[in-house]
């Protein structure tokens, strides 16, 4: 029986844990910050680098490396900005952290700010997360009261302020450069790179944008050391991660797991198997933008590299399970409509391609499909893939191509002459 490995959720899973400052401190909270303040910023960055923690937002880029890219001695302020714009369909882990244990996240954030020399932290929270924002604001207020934040962070000479910035509902603002534009008060659309945010990000200053879960993991990395964190996962995929399990399973929810446990076990052990004893039809392993896996493909370790091997992605660790009754064509149409709606529209293939794809899929849903249209859909999606400025175009094209590849019969059933 697969068990959770509690690191980030060690407090959350404790009965009676309230998530306020007092209860967090009672569980030994803010000891990592105390430890960190005795170190130099460079030491912290090297520990994070050593832990090899990979970004939990979707791309899986090593966080320590990202931090070490930050331009130094520019004469400008540096920024560490937290991406809490958790918009990937199927993902709901960051919300849980902010709701249930905001201090663990804030502690990691303070350490990060200290490490990168950031004196004003911005938390860009998805606009729909109103309860999470309230909880987070309450926690920040508590920190100010306790002297953890403010002109001198916990008695050190390091001043630190924190601001919550609610997003306005755009999926694309979860892309780090679009997030920065939105934070600056501009229209939220991805910027061209280079320059990378580490050189010119928020207001043209060196900036690192990190996911809530990644930042929370920093707390435990500093607390327990890089080695302990590495031991929790597989090589190159260190630590634990929060898995958002949803869809046709008996026990959906957020689970904290080691990297590299079996995907099958997650669904059948933790998830309690498929609802109503139905058969499994497919699994989207990392948020809706990742290619789908068939039932026979899911017996693999659940980490970044193993999923790459089966030509899918772990993304933001959001597993969406669907049973045999699911109409995959309608499912795909719904997903593509989402990406069409959320495309910022600035770059050509994504703007025109996502709409075109959704129009073709609508034909299928209305039983107007044909072999030519299926080929056209493949061609249009294939053209979006790799040709766009940010990953949104790819996010729309990848599921289309994988669904067509893996469920050709289902599409054929929607041909006009079927």
């Amino acid at each position: 029986m697969l068990q959770e490995t509690l690191v980030l959720f060690k407090n959350v899973r404790k009965p009676g844990y309230k998530g306020n400052l007092a209860s967090y401190k009672a569980e030994g909270g803010y000891s990592a910050l105390k430890k960190a303040l005795k170190m130099t910023p460079e030491e912290i960055v090297s520990i994070v680098k050593e832990s090899n923690v990979r970004g939990r937002g979707g791309a899986g880029f090593p966080t320590g490396l990202k931090w070490s890219f930050m331009a130094k001695n520019t004469g400008k302020p540096s920024y560490l900005i937290v991406n809490a714009d958790e918009g990937e369909p199927g993902t709901f882990k960051d919300r849980e952290i902010m709701l249930k244990d905001p201090h663990m996240f804030l502690e990691g954030y303070m350490i990060g700010c200290y490490a990168l020399g950031c004196h004003h932290g911005y938390i860009y929270v998805r606009g729909e997360f109103v309860p999470a924002m309230k909880q987070l604001q309450k926690a920040i207020d508590e920190c100010y009261e306790a002297g953890l934040l403010g002109p001198s962070m916990w008695g050190s000479k390091f001043p630190l302020d924190m601001t919550i910035h609610p997003g306005a509902g755009a999926y694309v603002c979860g892309e780090e450069t679009a997030l920065l534009d939105s934070l600056e008060g501009k229209r939220g659309q991805p910027r061209t790179k280079p320059p990378f945010p580490a050189v010119a990000g928020f207001n043209g200053c060196p900036t690192s944008v990190n996911n809530v879960e990644t930042i929370t993991a920093v707390t435990s990395i500093i607390n327990d050391g890089a080695e302990a964190f590495k031991e929790l996962g597989t090589p190159n995929n260190s630590g634990t991660h929060l898995v958002s399990l949803s869809g046709h399973v008996n026990k959906p929810g957020v689970y904290e797991l080691r990297m590299g446990v079996s995907l099958k076990d997650i669904i059948y052990d933790l998830g309690g198997g498929i609802k109503n004893g139905k058969k499994l039809k497919g699994v989207i392993p990392g948020g809706s933008s990742t290619p789908v896996l068939l039932p026979e493909e899911i017996d693999i370790p659940y980490d970044f590299d193993s999923l790459m091997k089966v030509k899918s992605m772990m993304g933001s660790s959001a597993i969406m399970v669907f049973d045999e009754d699911t109409d995959v064509v309608k499912l795909l149409h719904r997903m593509v409509r989402f990406y069409n709606h959320e495309s910022c529209g600035q770059c050509t293939p994504c703007r025109e391609g996502t709409h075109w794809s959704s129009m073709i899929l609508r034909d299928f849903v209305y039983k107007q499909g044909s072999a030519a249209k299926l080929d056209r859909l493949k061609r249009v999606s294939g053209n979006i893939l790799g040709a766009t400025l940010c990953a949104l175009g790819d996010a729309c094209a990848m599921p289309i191509l994988s669904f067509i590849e893996k469920y050709p019969e289902e599409f054929r059933a929607y041909f006009a002459d079927a």
Binding site: R191, T192, G345, C347, N383, T388, L389
Partner: protein, 530 residues
Amino acid sequence: MPTFYLDDNPIEFEPGEKVLAAALRSGFHIPHYCYHPALSIVATCRMCLVDVVDMGNGRPAPKLMTSCSMDPADGMKIETKNEKVKEARELVMEFLLVNHPLDCPICDQAGECTLQDFSFEYGSGSSEMEYSKRVYGWRDIGTFVMLERNRCIHCTRCHRFTTEVTGTHEFGTFNRSHQLTVDTFTDRPMTNKFQGNMADICPVGCITEREFRFKRRAWKLQKTNSICTHCSTGCNITVEQDQNTVFRLKPRENQEVNQWWMCDDGRVSLRQFNNKKNRIMQPMGRVQGTLVKASWEQIYEAIKDKVKQLAVKKDEVVAITDTHASNEELFLLKKLLHDVFSSEHVFFPLRLWAQPDSPNFIDTLITTDKSPNTAGAIALGIKGNEDDSALKQVLSEKTKLAFVLGNPLGKESEIYDLVSKADLIICIGTVLNEWAERADVLLPGSTPVEKEGTFINKNHRVQKINAAVKAPRHAKADWLILQELIQSLGKQSTFQSTSEIFNSLATTLETFQGLTFEDVGDLGCSLPAT
């Protein structure tokens, strides 16, 4: 210098320069829409995708790169003509045309539309799009440009122009996804004075000039390099005409003067060039109080006789000119007074001028000096003072003969009364204005689009205008009229062309320090510091 290779052609680049910019500078073309050298790089049209087969370290790039945003590296090898790139361009073209109305037959941009050109050059020629196209409602965005949003390909050059170049921020992008559109904020009209540039930088027919709309197909226009004569900045332009009518003035890139831009007032200054109603079409002389038409020979003969009869002495002659006259004309006017009458009484109205003090370069293009050659008049040593006291001084004594070039005094001036006392007033001009009722002789000159000449702009840059259209049958270039006046009054002047006059004045006058007409060229040249 570090070098990268574009289809095996070595291109040197400076640090910070992008691949596309370096390629364009070296004369290699990579198709692009959203990139404009004056604007920030957004890399959104995806048309400039290139295949980097070697990033300079022996490895190829993982996917096609946008050359507009890519930093070159020493030894980098880039291919722009292989199958991969060709296919990518075809696809981008197809995507761009998915929602484009293809209304080229009624679109003013047709003929100079990059969407059209690249479709032919890089497109596949077919589309599988079978759904109805996106349609936007018509929007009125002001008096100078038209917005036809259905044609938009969302390069956002217009949006970036108003934020980065004019700083007026009245234009933006709205909505998302395939419904993305450009528009003004909150239904307000455009307010900046440089809207015509938005039509210029718009690669398609989404933004077009109202003045030019439906007047002429772009491919019929003949273009002549010239400069704008509407103010003392002297923006470099092309005069575009068909069948002897000027249809539009378009800015021409000159980094030293106007970069890529010109103002809207300058653009509509073409209206005066097409003015046929008020034009002086033939030489006219006053006979018993009324102006009657005459031939050039008759007029010159009459002038010669009258001058002889008046026995004009040195102090009894005056010439007043405006600074729309070119250096050559001013030189000959001076020569006329000097050679024939030994007089130096050549005056022009010198007015204080200013230009907006602005952090945006483009605002400094508009000066309050609405004549192109004030600096030239000063360089030629023509007398000008702000309150015209010197001119009044001369006119207060007995003046028998007055030469007037252009319209130096404007609508109202007390000098009109002083000049009117002269026995013979000879005016060279193009339109019937305040002088028509005062002059004894009206000689039909040429407008700036009908003649050659040089001007000196506010920053002491010598620039050239060229003849784009023909003057009316009996009109002559002003310099020629002045020369013929000198000849008919019994002195020598045998210049064959403006270039001869310029070369001659540049050698006689110290301020020009031996510049030649060839030195001026299409882009002008700075006057050597004195």
